[in-house]
């Protein structure tokens, strides 16, 4: 009987195990091998050792710019989006009529597929005719050329990322629902103001949700691609402009691999991204004990 069960188990998980070997494990090993070679996809790979990595770290100035841009984008857009979501959820959680309507209104932008929102924002951020600069002109502000200026292209992309805060809001609201009402009642008896309640009860109890969203947000932001491809330059080889001010890791990988057919070099970039994602994930996990507040700790103390 036991033997039969084991057999069934392996039979049933076979599709996933097969997919894992063919599409994940095998490709990872092969990709690491490729990162040590020079390969144009057509001739056979030439083994180089660590040359690709050495070149990326010591000679490739665009790569460094790419890493800087990506970290800049991720570390500003993600925390800023979180602050914005927390700000909105404070008001959404006040006892008012129509809060469900507001919530829906805020969520709709998050449902817009990346291609659609990138195309829309490419136009909204246009220098003269774009909506954002026309809006600024009402207040007498002469808006920048956003996507066409090296200093403004990253802020423009960050601004755009704030449009999709709805996804965060939904998760934060769900987290808030699970906070026992007695906490607020007790606080009210003690005379705590709504803002004090938000800082002393809501925020600490929400930290696990905030923390989870921050990690996911960071990992997603490090892999940004669609916006760069569609909004900066005319797509493909010219993306990441102006002057590589918006070139990010994945677009750079794409250019090397699928435009210039430098498969070895592109694989090395992929592995650096992999390590970066892992380091960030571990860092956030390790630092979490300092500020994440789990409900179980309350019970224990």
């Amino acid at each position: 009987m036991r033997k039969k069960e084991t057999l069934w188990f392996y039979l049933l998980v076979f599709p996933w195990v097969f997919g894992f070997i063919i599409l994940t494990l095998g490709p990872m090993l092969y990709s690491f091998f490729l990162s040590l070679t020079n390969w144009d996809l057509f001739t056979s790979p030439k083994f180089l050792g660590w040359d690709n990595y050495i070149r990326l770290f010591t000679k490739d100035k665009i790569f460094w710019k790419t890493v800087f841009n990506t970290l800049y984008y991720a570390f500003i857009s993600v925390p800023l989006g979180m602050l914005f979501s927390l700000f909105i959820t404070y008001f959404l959680n006040r006892p008012i009529k129509g809060s469900a309507i507001y919530r829906t209104l805020y969520y709709i932008p998050a449902t817009v597929p990346g291609v659609a929102s990138a195309l829309l924002f490419k136009w909204l951020l246009a220098p003269d005719a774009g909506m954002i600069n026309r809006f600024l002109a009402i207040f007498g502000v002469d808006g920048p050329a956003w996507l066409l200026e090296p200093d403004w292209v990253k802020p423009a992309l960050i601004l755009m990322s704030l449009w999709t805060v709805g996804a965060n809001i939904t998760l934060l609201m769900a987290g808030m629902k699970s906070i026992p009402a007695e906490f607020y009642e007790a606080a009210e008896l003690d005379g705590a103001s709504p803002i004090a309640q938000y800082y002393r009860i809501t925020l600490p109890l929400l930290t696990p949700v905030i923390f989870f969203n921050l990690i996911n947000g960071l990992i997603g932001a490090l892999q940004v691609f669609t916006q760069i491809y569609i909004m900066t330059g005319t797509g493909g080889a010219t993306m990441g402009g102006p002057n590589n001010a918006s070139m990010m890791i994945v677009p750079y990988l794409f250019n090397n691999g699928f435009r210039f057919y430098k498969m070895g070099y592109a694989s090395a970039i992929a592995w650096i991204l992999f390590v970066l994602v892992m380091i960030l994930t571990l860092l956030v996990f390790r630092s979490s004990s300092a500020w994440v507040y789990y409900e179980t700790e309350v019970r224990r103390s």
């Binding site: 069960e5 084991t6 049933l12 894992f20 008012i96 449902t111 817009v112 136009w123 669609t226 892992m278």
Partner: protein, 283 residues
């Protein structure tokens, strides 16, 4: 929560409405642009509140040589088969992890969970090589077939769901002579139907607007899903020439509306899901 003062209520509404208008404005613009005439488009004089109502833009994209009908069909094909694959295979694997005992199960499960952290870029180039060797370039196969191996996230979700079902049901079925596959088909599948719908919804959301995969694997315009097709429409013009923004925005809307519908349908559904799954499990 307690009542709040009128002034506070007014202030809350003021903030929420103000921000709401700001967030809705780009969407309004999308609608307005999609209804604009070609003349307005060439002069770039779009307005925030729709000034013209060229609803025929929505017909034009399907009847002209823009291929929209084909794009839509490709997207539906991609999404439909991806959903079938994820629902069938993820649930089968999840059942094995939730119910069957076997040596090595824990290790495989940990491997499964850790694959969720691997960024797709690391496997991208070898996968591209593999699909090239299989001669799957310019087909939807590289985008569909991986779904038939199940997804780690979906498997995890379904496993959690299945573990909530009382084991006595399996045991009773076993006594009645069902084998493990029979239990999956006749006991487990009917009881996890809500979770299966959730997996289908997630798969829809992940694949409907997919861009990176189609960009790499599909070069032939007639094979492209909608998201890539719309992007091509906005980029076919040489520098200095103005893209047909009105038609591009029609495309963006056609791409967006199903997502909004799925959200509305899905939200109501998910509420039910957590209601019935929250306490003991299944009702």
């Amino acid at each position: 929560m307690s009542k709040i003062s009128r002034i506070e209520k007014f202030f809350t509404h003021l903030v929420l409405t103000g921000l709401g208008v700001l967030l809705a404005a780009p969407f309004m613009y999308m609608i307005s642009m999609s209804l604009a005439s070609d003349a307005t488009t060439s002069k770039l004089t779009f307005t925030f509140i729709p000034g013209e109502f060229h609803f025929k833009n929505f017909i034009r994209v399907f009847t002209s040589n823009l291929n929209f009908g084909q794009f839509l069909l490709n997207s539906l094909t991609l999404v439909f088969f991806s959903m079938v694959g994820q629902v069938l295979v993820s649930s089968l694997v999840a059942y094995a992890f939730a119910r069957l005992r076997a040596p090595g199960k824990e290790i495989i499960f940990i491997v499964l969970l850790s694959t969720m952290m691997i960024p797709t870029e690391v496997t991208l180039i070898p996968q591209f090589v593999l699909f090239t060797k299989l001669d799957w370039i310019n087909t939807l196969l590289p985008l569909i077939v991986p779904n038939f191996f199940g997804g780690a996230y979906n498997i995890f979700l379904l496993r959690q769901f299945i573990t909530r079902i009382p084991v006595e049901l399996d045991e009773a079925a076993q006594i009645d002579g069902l084998n493990f596959f029979g239990i999956y088909v006749y006991i487990i599948l009917p009881l996890i139907r809500p979770a299966l719908v959730a997996v289908a919804i997630f798969t829809f959301v992940w694949n409907w607007g997919a861009f990176f995969g189609p960009l790499i694997y599909v070069n032939d315009v007639s094979k492209m899903p909608l998201a890539l097709g719309v992007q091509i429409l906005s980029a076919t013009n040489s520098a200095g020439q103005i893209p047909p923004w009105n038609l591009v925005m029609v495309g963006a809307l056609v791409l967006t509306v199903p997502m909004i519908l799925v959200y509305f349908f899905g939200q109501r559904f998910m509420d039910q899901l957590s209601l019935s799954g929250g306490s003991a499990g299944i009702k």
